[in-house]
């Protein structure tokens, strides 16, 4: 049986618009066995609530959810069949105390042994009686191998995380990333809150993708309530989401050049990006457009002055891209650093189901705006490359930048009139929202109780499936190229630390 057939044989649950099926433990076991032999099904997310684990899978061009009861705190692991499940399983054990039987990695992930009670989201967390344990890293054997520990406090202005390099001479034999430093207890704060209040946390899961995460959460809530937001609100969300993509891609493009010690593009991208952020403030009242997407619509309407500000800022970006691209492509000192550096094989990207520019630079054509697709996007052109190196990830970003400029122009030229925020119905339900951030797809699942309060929730940042590939990208490269590789991925730390 295919994974889809096994899932669809389960008991259907009322989850919209993508169905969820409750499987028995043997059926879940059969699912893991089927996933081991069938490679076409992608595992997009794995999370839990007390006594139950849920998985989101992309199979046969559809998104389906499957659940398995975790009797006595255990459930059959998916990690032997899908390596992308490893960190989810470690996270589930740390937050809910549910153990993946036969999981391939049982080390703690988010739990550094410093919380007053653990597991924090279990029915009954207990005080932790022992001091924080020393982290364990995977070993490397060989002549002359030594370790370079980096972080959690880094030299640049970036988020905290620990990188453990095993190197042989200049060459990286293995990188292992240890995260969790930013764990803020976001999920626990969302529980029991009305959807509009919980949305503030979705908007702060990863500040640089605040619009995309805010939208995915709002979409999940609206799906759960079978509520359609006003058309003008959808168009304004898309304008904000594309502005967010533009300012982030400009940032990443500039920083990759800067990490190759080539300062001009960084300075120029910084100027263009600042123009976009100021236009966003003029148009929506906040530079990063935080809290502007709310379940039910958007909070700020766009005035003619705002439209003019966006047009002026994006006009400058469009004018500069050709020259910047020529400078990026034409300087051997820069190209020498980015071409052929940090290659991720397409087969690996497919195994981990990594989305965003990381996936599309290695041949995986997944863009939530196209599949499963959502309003108001009709047909987003999705660039795909196969090289999988730093250069390919930069080129995908440049192409997406140009596509976003085109999309915003089209959206602004044809803005629907009408209201921007409608009251939500007061009832329960369960829904899924998927939006495409500049990093890849944000996948939010939410269950509301009859009073409209959040009963269970899981916002999945695209970085979950990209971080492990960074470890693969740097293997065999020199230590000095790590900043380039890292910046070309630009995974979110906060987004996965929850």
């Amino acid at each position: 049986m295919t994974p889809l057939a096994i899932i669809e044989a389960g008991a259907p649950q009322d989850c919209r618009p993508h169905p969820r099926f409750l499987l028995t433990r043997p059926a879940w076991q059969a699912l893991t066995a089927a996933l081991a032999v069938e490679e076409a099904t992608d595992l997009l997310s794995l999370w839990a609530e007390p006594g139950m684990v849920h998985a989101a899978l992309w199979t046969a061009g559809r998104l389906v959810l499957a659940s398995c009861p975790a009797a006595e705190g255990r459930y059959p692991a998916l990690s032997p069949a899908r390596p992308g499940a490893v960190r989810f399983e470690r996270m589930i054990r740390d937050l809910w105390g549910l153990t993946a039987t036969d999981g391939i990695d049982a080390r703690p992930w988010l739990d550094h042994g410093r919380w007053p009670a653990a597991p924090p989201l279990a029915a009954r967390p207990a005080p932790v009686p022992y001091p924080p344990p020393q982290p364990e890293f995977l070993a490397v054997e060989g002549e002359g191998v030594h370790q370079i520990p980096v972080g959690p406090v880094h030299a640049g202005i970036i988020e905290p995380g620990h990188f453990r390099f095993h190197v042989q001479g200049e060459t990286v034999a293995r990188l292992e990333v240890r995260l969790g430093y930013l764990h803020k207890g976001t999920l626990s704060l969302m529980l029991g809150k009305p959807a509009r209040v919980a949305a503030r946390f979705a908007g702060r899961l990863s500040g640089d993708a605040t619009v995309a995460h805010g939208w995915a959460f709002a979409m999940a809530v609206e799906a759960a309530l079978s509520f359609t937001p006003p058309p003008r609100a959808l168009a304004l969300r898309a304008v904000m989401a594309e502005l967010e993509r533009v300012h982030n891609h400009l940032n990443d493009w500039g920083f990759v050049c800067n990490d190759a010690a080539f300062a001009y593009p960084h300075a120029r991208c910084g100027v263009l990006r600042e123009g976009v952020l100021r236009a966003a403030r003029e148009a929506f009242g906040h530079r990063l457009m935080m809290d502007r997407v709310a379940p039910g619509g958007v909070t700020d309407d766009l005035t003619p002055a705002g439209i003019a500000a966006i047009g002026a800022a994006l006009g400058k970006v469009a004018e500069d891209i050709p020259a910047l691209r020529a400078i990026y492509e034409g300087h051997a000192s820069l190209q020498d650093r980015v071409v052929g550096t940090g290659i991720v094989a397409p087969s690996l990207v497919a195994r981990f189901a990594a989305g965003g520019p990381v996936g599309r630079a290695s041949g995986r054509r997944f863009d939530a705006r196209a599949t499963p697709g959502y309003a108001p996007y009709a047909a987003a052109r999705v660039p795909v490359l196969a090289a999988g190196d730093v250069d390919a990830r930069v080129r995908i970003r440049i192409a997406e930048l140009e596509e976003s400029l085109r999309l915003i122009e089209a959206l602004l030229a044809d803005l629907p009139a009408g209201e921007i925020l409608a009251p939500l119905p007061q009832r329960g339900g369960e829904g899924v929202g998927v939006t495409e951030s500049f990093r890849g797809e944000c996948l939010h699942w939410v269950a509301l109780d009859d009073g409209g309060l959040v009963r269970a929730v899981f916002p999945r940042d695209p970085s979950w499936l990209q971080w492990p590939l960074l470890e693969a990208a740097i293997e065999g490269n020199i230590v000095a190229d790590f900043p380039l590789c890292n910046k070309s991925f630009n995974c979110s730390y906060s987004g996965v630390d929850l």
């Binding site: 905290p160 946390f201 702060r204 910084g270």
Partner: protein
Amino acid sequence: MSGRPLQKLLWPRLARGLFSRPLTDAAPSPPPEIAAALAERLEQASQRRLGRSLAIRQVDAGSCNGCELEINALNSVIYDLERFGLRFVASPRHADVLLVTGPVTRNMREALLRTRACTPEPCWVVAAGDCAVDGGVFKGSYAIEGGVGDALPVDLVIPGCPPTPTQLLEGLLALLDAQQPARAKK
């Protein structure tokens, strides 16, 4: 990929920059009440060692990365931080100021305290962003300390979610301004 046509593209742009007005904004003026309050506190400290510049080490102690985006923007040519004698340094051992963001997660507390221990005296701690002030929206979570002040003595707070680069700049200029009376005295 030959160099010559490309130099044609970059060099004229750089040359144009020599003859055009800079893109940098005019300097904002720090709020007088912040400067006055700080002046009093800093009077006793030894200002001579600092001269007119401050070296800043940024520490993310649990932010959502929104604050980091705006702090990075300070380094752009639009704000041009270095014209004020302010610059970001790679190590706390080179720093006068720790610019801390985030609600201080329990998982980052030790790293923050160790960073403070590595910073030579005199050191000013600036809590930037609503989370760093008092935990912000994350107040009450099991996973946070509740604000930078719950882990370290704080000299200056810059609220905002996130604070804009202009607000950050105003706060940092207030730190510089606060040194003026002490210097004039000696």
